[in-house]
């Protein structure tokens, strides 16, 4: 029933002064383009994994020609400014998501591993987490997970597999899905803390630290009376406590003074466009402030019921994705998909404008943009829409459309991506080789 959004400005007001603050208080989020990352000595890539659900209308996604200087397809047109750093990979498939598609597609995108049946999460670590383990340990957060909807619609869970693989694209270990934050306010506070001044932040940090100590002690005391199986869970818990401790120490030593922070966002914007851009803006800030190197982003939820009136699609996304080859519905889908690319391109533009070391954030990024479904009407997993963007610290060629034999495992591309990120990996999921041309 409440029709308001709450905005906590955390602005201290002089006691008794009664000074009126002019409304509206919110400024646009325009952080300064200062290069916090510039201090980093070695060039280390940033990794982005941006997932969109429900595949793509492939004839509007796949460029008409291969090789260098390929022509952009309609859905990819918004990426024209980044043509030099864009690689389209065609011919990939990911059969492990067969069956209850919507419940498996997100989490298997980066694992390429068929989960075990059952209500307990049981798959394999995802590509981003393999990277996080290797190159994500010197930032406060090994990785950051962002979503733009609280969850999927009906049909995103499955009787055999539960809901473990539909709400996230990231698994830290075989049994630990990483939840994705969809609330911009909470995301902001997680990134930049909850204090206004350095003194306040220090105090909150101290408090947080002592809570963690206590939590660890309490968990240990629980252990004494538990059975084997529960003790394994407590040790997971302790692992998590240590992870937070490490993060807290990193955050405490982080200097955010050069970063112009926007105000704390007001809950979830009702306007989808505003919402998506806000979340992407924060993803850019997190890289700029070196809070993380690895970012996972779900641009819409699996089985999303979202409507896209801004591009004249009043229908629910999932409903229209079952297009039944109706040209009108397919046209609508193309509009949604092109719009997603536009929002994505806006983010790239911001990354390109943010200095990082000798180049820009985009020059140092490796960003995978794609879906784990192909034709949303047929629910299949070949050919997958897959794009790679960024300079990868000079390790990505860009400006090419590569075509591989049909059903080449998506995992082969992920192995190649990890290699460029400086995380040599022999095998990932069902990979049977590596794509060397990127």
């Amino acid at each position: 029933m409440f029709i308001t959004k709450k905005h906590l400005s955390r602005r201290t007001v002089l006691k008794g002064a009664g000074v009126a603050v002019a409304l509206p208080l919110l400024d646009a989020m325009i952080p300064a383009a200062t290069a916090l990352g510039a201090t980093a000595a070695a060039r280390r890539p940033r990794l982005g994994f941006v997932y969109f659900p429900h595949g793509a209308i492939m004839e509007q996604w796949t460029p008409a020609a291969e090789g260098k200087g390929f022509p952009l397809s309609p859905i990819l047109t918004p990426l024209k400014d980044f043509h030099q750093q864009l690689t389209i990979i065609s011919g990939l498939g990911n059969p492990v998501a067969d069956g209850p598609v919507h419940s498996l597609a997100p989490a298997t995108w980066l694992s390429c591993t068929r989960p075990q049946k059952g209500q307990e999460p049981n798959m394999a670590p995802t590509c981003d987490q393999i990277a996080a383990r290797a190159i994500g340990q010197d930032t406060p957060m090994p990785s950051l997970e962002i979503a733009t909807e609280s969850g999927g619609g009906g049909g995103s869970c499955d009787r055999d597999f539960g809901c473990n693989y539909t709400g996230t694209i990231s698994y830290r270990t075989a049994s630990t899905p990483l939840p994705m934050e969809y609330n911009p306010r909470k995301l902001f506070q997680r990134l930049f803390g909850r204090g206004d001044t350095p003194a306040e932040r220090t105090e909150l940090n101290r408090q947080y630290g002592s809570v963690l100590d206590m939590v660890a002690e309490d968990a240990a005391s629980l252990n004494a009376r538990l059975g084997q199986r529960d003790r394994a869970l407590v040790s997971d818990y302790m692992e998590t406590v240590r992870e937070l401790e490490r993060r807290m120490q990193k955050t405490a030593s982080q200097d955010l003074s050069g970063l112009k922070l926007p105000e704390v966002p007001v809950g979830i914007p009702e306007n989808t466009d505003e919402y998506l851009n806000l979340m992407f803006d924060m993803a850019a800030l997190a890289w700029q402030a070196n809070l993380t190197r690895i970012t996972n982003f779900m641009i819409a939820a699996e089985v999303s019921g979202r409507t896209y009136n801004n591009v004249q699609v009043p229908d629910a996304f999932h409903a229209v994705s079952h297009h039944g080859n109706d040209p009108e519905k397919k046209a609508k889908l193309v509009r949604i998909q092109t719009y997603h690319t536009q929002v994505f391109a806006k983010w790239l533009k911001r990354l390109a404008a943010t200095p990082d070391g000798e180049g820009s954030l985009l020059d140092n990024a490796i960003i995978l943009y794609g879906s784990n479904m192909s034709n949303s009407d047929a629910h299949n997993h070949f050919p997958l829409p897959t794009a790679l963007v960024g300079g990868g610290c000079g390790k990505l060629k860009g400006n090419q459309h590569l075509r591989y034999p049909d059903h080449t495992p998506l995992a082969n591309a992920l192995v190649a991506l990890l290699d460029r990120a400086g995380v040599p990996t022999e095998k990932l999921g069902d990979s049977n080789g590596v794509i060397s041309e990127i």
Binding site: T4, K6, R10, S175, M214, G227
Partner: protein, 789 residues
């Protein structure tokens, strides 16, 4: 799925038992074909316990008549019933008299439980959804222990929640003045009355704000009149703005009209400031606690309005009427006291008179709070950690702040956030242990109330009374009669009956212009109250399907065609027509299992199989074609005609031959659950007739009669779901004998709700735990299947 082409039409029945298996199942499920990885000829009856999982699945398939698939030789219903009893009797006998209780792992509070626990401990309503990440569902419920994992983001959110909740409840570090801005949603229609605001007002904003202390606060209201790049808008006529606090008018001011217009025209910026200043710096004295702020304009006759018609999608554009856009609450600017909020009353059970009293009083407060939060007595040693938080907080911000820090520490502790069942250190795998009384008390109250035990239950457990004969049952009865047991309707049944599905559907406004948010809310409310009436009045659970009453307000009555219901209040009514009896006639189900633009007999049929019959059909195989939507320029076809075309393929018919006819019976209910005689697109009469299980069914009444032919079936589904929720774990094949025993006992009591709850809380699965076995050896069936592949 393997399909065998040996269809025979004859209904020649045989004796139940192995003959039945050979005759009706053996053509496909044999050691040559291995359909579905099952071959009954390799599963000796002597090892029925070892193969229980497969046999239980077979029972389900037979009960739901999913097997033999349509098109294959069908046994008569009597033969099926006899075969089901034959199998169930043997399965029950094989499991022995004492059932294996299973094991529930360390159980984290989920979001709903957390919210309820905060209310129990602190008398404070919070919105847990805004504080904590969403929980993962498993086996249809969000309280399944195995799925409630912890990750850094989770733990972080729980610690931050502890900080925020304790500050909210107890007032934070004394009373630093803060600013909070609430913005009105732009989608509020400025011409319409907003529910909750005084009648006779239009537009506006309504928020609950927590005032941390007694004292003075400053309010600044922003409205859309007069501002905007020097242009004057919204001031053509005189308007009055009112502000209320808990419904009481505390401020009123004029805006617009001739003098304002003139001043703005002549002096512009300085006049604008004057106008705005009328709505700033509103000083009010407010007592601590949660208060509701309402701000709106007094409605005027539309005849004198000068608004132009606005497009639905873009409210606020090009209008002549101002609206409230935001309010800022600043303060407290002067503190007169810490206030007497319910939370503070709950926590501060003593007040130190002198500084030397502080530590002993804090020890009492912290000890009492920890006991309630940990849901058991606490030792002195356990209080050391929270007392340290008290000490450091006291040094920083005085006694009250010290207490708040201790409360924060307790709320962040895993002892509060987890429920654990202890085991002796030398417990052997497979050994069974009864829960101690405190563990049992928590299990009982989280089951019946979705929150921790109250004082009476906790005291009974701590005094060792709970394991005395009849005591659990006594507590259960008391707790079912308590209003908190309504959580069984809202939380348990809401999830079981998938009521939230209606929130995922946005009906196509061109097809269903009459649909609005009020109807959606009414569907929720009706289901909560209806299920609540069956559970709360301890009726037979069969009345969930057959009840001739429901709860409606005017909006819903209009939708259902029930006359003489006026106003927004929900009331119990007798249904004039049997078509809406029970849950199958409720909008929450009918709309939830539809799509935005059409009905879905497939979703409705599958739902009935899963939630009512208890035999969920398989998910469609990959690569199936979706239903063809009607397109412009082509002759439209009914949903039914399109589905029937799809069903012609034998591989589809194997499941859809069972699913679709159940859904067809409800085709007279459209995609938002309204009754219809004709299909909108084709203008033809709805055909709801089909053959289900060899019986002609042509509408909701006959469908209900069919589903109730075996009342134990529905009772068993409900028991299975309720027990999953009660235990917080998925049920295994070895739990099924327990379920059947509960259902049989409840049958003698006309399947009263409490008789099922009683069966659950008295079961070994509920009262005991088993040390998990190391991974079991493969069953005969699995071994055989593995060999065959």
């Amino acid at each position: 799925m393997v399909l065998c082409s040996t269809a025979r039409a004859a209904h020649d029945d045989v004796a139940s038992g192995t003959d039945f298996l050979t005759k009706f199942c053996g053509d496909c499920h044999n050691s040559t074909d291995w359909a579905g990885g099952v071959a009954f000829d390799t599963m000796p009856q002597e090892n029925i316990a070892g193969d229980a999982a497969v046999w239980e699945e077979a029972v389900k398939k037979l009960r739901g008549r999913l097997m033999p698939p349509p098109g294959e030789t069908q046994p008569s219903q009597q033969a099926i019933d006899a075969q089901v009893s034959w199998l169930e009797t043997r399965l029950d006998a094989a499991s022995g008299s004492r059932h294996r209780p299973g094991n529930v792992v360390l159980h984290r509070l989920n979001r709903t439980e957390y919210q309820n626990e905060i209310r129990r401990l602190l008398d404070l309503d919070i919105d847990a959804a805004a504080l904590l990440p969403k929980d993962t569902k498993a086996d249809g419920f969000d309280n399944v222990a195995l799925a409630l994992r912890v990750s850094p983001a989770f733990l972080d959110a729980y610690i931050v929640a502890a900080q925020e909740v304790s500050a909210k409840a107890l007032g934070g570090n004394a009373t630093r003045a803060t600013s909070t801005v609430y913005r009105a949603s732009p989608s509020v229609a400025r011409y319409q009355h907003l529910e909750g605001l005084p009648l006779g007002t239009r537009g506006g904003l309504l928020v609950d704000h927590l005032f941390p202390a007694d004292g003075e606060y400053n309010f600044n209201i922003a409205q859309s009149g007069s501002r905007g790049g020097g242009y004057i808008s919204g001031l053509d006529s005189r308007q009055r703005l009112v502000m209320t606090l808990d419904g009481r008018r505390v401020f009123e001011q004029r805006l617009g009209g001739e003098d304002d217009l003139k001043a703005l025209d002549q002096r512009q910026a300085s006049a604008d400031k004057e106008v705005q200043d009328r709505f700033r710096n509103i000083h009010l004295t407010v007592p601590a606690g949660l208060h509701r702020i309402g701000i709106a304009f007094i409605a005027r006759s539309h005849a004198e309005g000068n608004e132009i018609l606005e497009p639905l999608d873009a409210p606020g554009t090009g209008s002549g009427m101002p609206n409230v856009t935001a309010v800022e609450v600043l303060g407290p600017t002067k503190v007169t006291g810490m206030g007497d909020t319910p939370s503070r009353r709950r926590v501060f059970i003593c007040k130190p008179a002198t500084t030397t009293d502080e530590t002993p009083c804090a020890r009492r407060i912290v000890g009492e709070f920890a006991r309630r939060a940990f849901r058991r007595p606490v030792s002195e040693a356990e209080l050391q950690a929270p007392m340290k938080f008290f000490e450091s907080g006291r040094q920083q911000g005085g006694f009250d702040f010290g207490i708040q820090q201790a409360v924060m520490a307790i709320l962040a502790s895993p002892k509060f956030l987890y429920r654990a069942v202890g085991l002796p250190q030398d417990a052997a795998p497979g050994s069974v242990h009864r829960l101690d009384e405190l563990e049992l008390a928590s299990r009982l109250s989280f089951f019946l109330w979705s929150e921790g035990p109250d004082e009476e239950l906790l005291n009974a457990a701590a005094a060792g009374q709970l394991n005395q004969p009849g005591q659990i049952e006594r507590q259960m009865k008391r707790m079912l009669a308590d209003p908190r047991a309504q959580s069984l309707a809202t939380n348990f049944a809401g999830q079981w009956l998938t009521v939230d599905e209606i929130d995922a559907i946005q009906p196509d406004p061109t097809l269903f212009p009459e649909f609005d948010g009020a109807l959606r809310r009414a569907f929720h409310e009706e289901m909560n109250r209806f299920v609540g009436s069956v559970f709360g009045e301890d009726r037979s659970v069969l009345s969930l399907l057959t009840a001739d009453w429901t709860f409606v307000n005017e909006r819903l009555a209009l939708h259902y065609g029930i006359p003489n219901v006026r106003g927004d209040r929900f009331r119990r009514v007798q249904l004039p027509d049997s078509r809406r009896y029970g849950i199958l006639g409720k909008g929450a189900f009918l709309m939830g299992m539809s799509y935005a633009n059409r009905t879905s007999p497939v979703r409705r049929g599958s739902w009935i199989l899963e939630q009512i019959v208890g035999t969920p059909p398989h998910a469609p195989p990959p690569g199936v074609e979706a239903l063809q939507e009607n397109t412009e320029g082509n002759v439209p076809r009914t949903v039914r005609a399109r589905l029937e075309a799809h069903r012609r393929a034998k591989s589809c018919n194997a499941c859809h031959g069972v699913i679709d006819p159940l859904g067809f019976a409800l085709e007279n209910f459209d995609a938002i659950g309204a009754w219809r005689a004709k299909d909108r697109e084709t203008a033809t009469l709805i055909d709801a007739g089909d053959t289900v299980h060899g019986v002609k069914v042509s509408g909701p009444d006959e469908l209900r009669a069919l589903l109730l032919r075996r009342p134990d079936q529905f009772a068993q589904t409900l028991t299975t779901r309720l027990m999953t929720f009660a235990l917080g774990r998925g049920l295994e094949a070895e739990d099924m004998p327990t379920v059947r025993a509960i259902v049989r006992a409840a049958a003698a009591d006309d399947y009263r709700f409490s008789s099922i709850v009683r069966g659950i809380v008295n079961s070994d699965a509920f009262t005991s735990t088993m040390v998990p076995m190391p991974k079991p050896a493969a069953t005969t069936a699995q071994a055989n299947a593995a060999q065959a592949h």
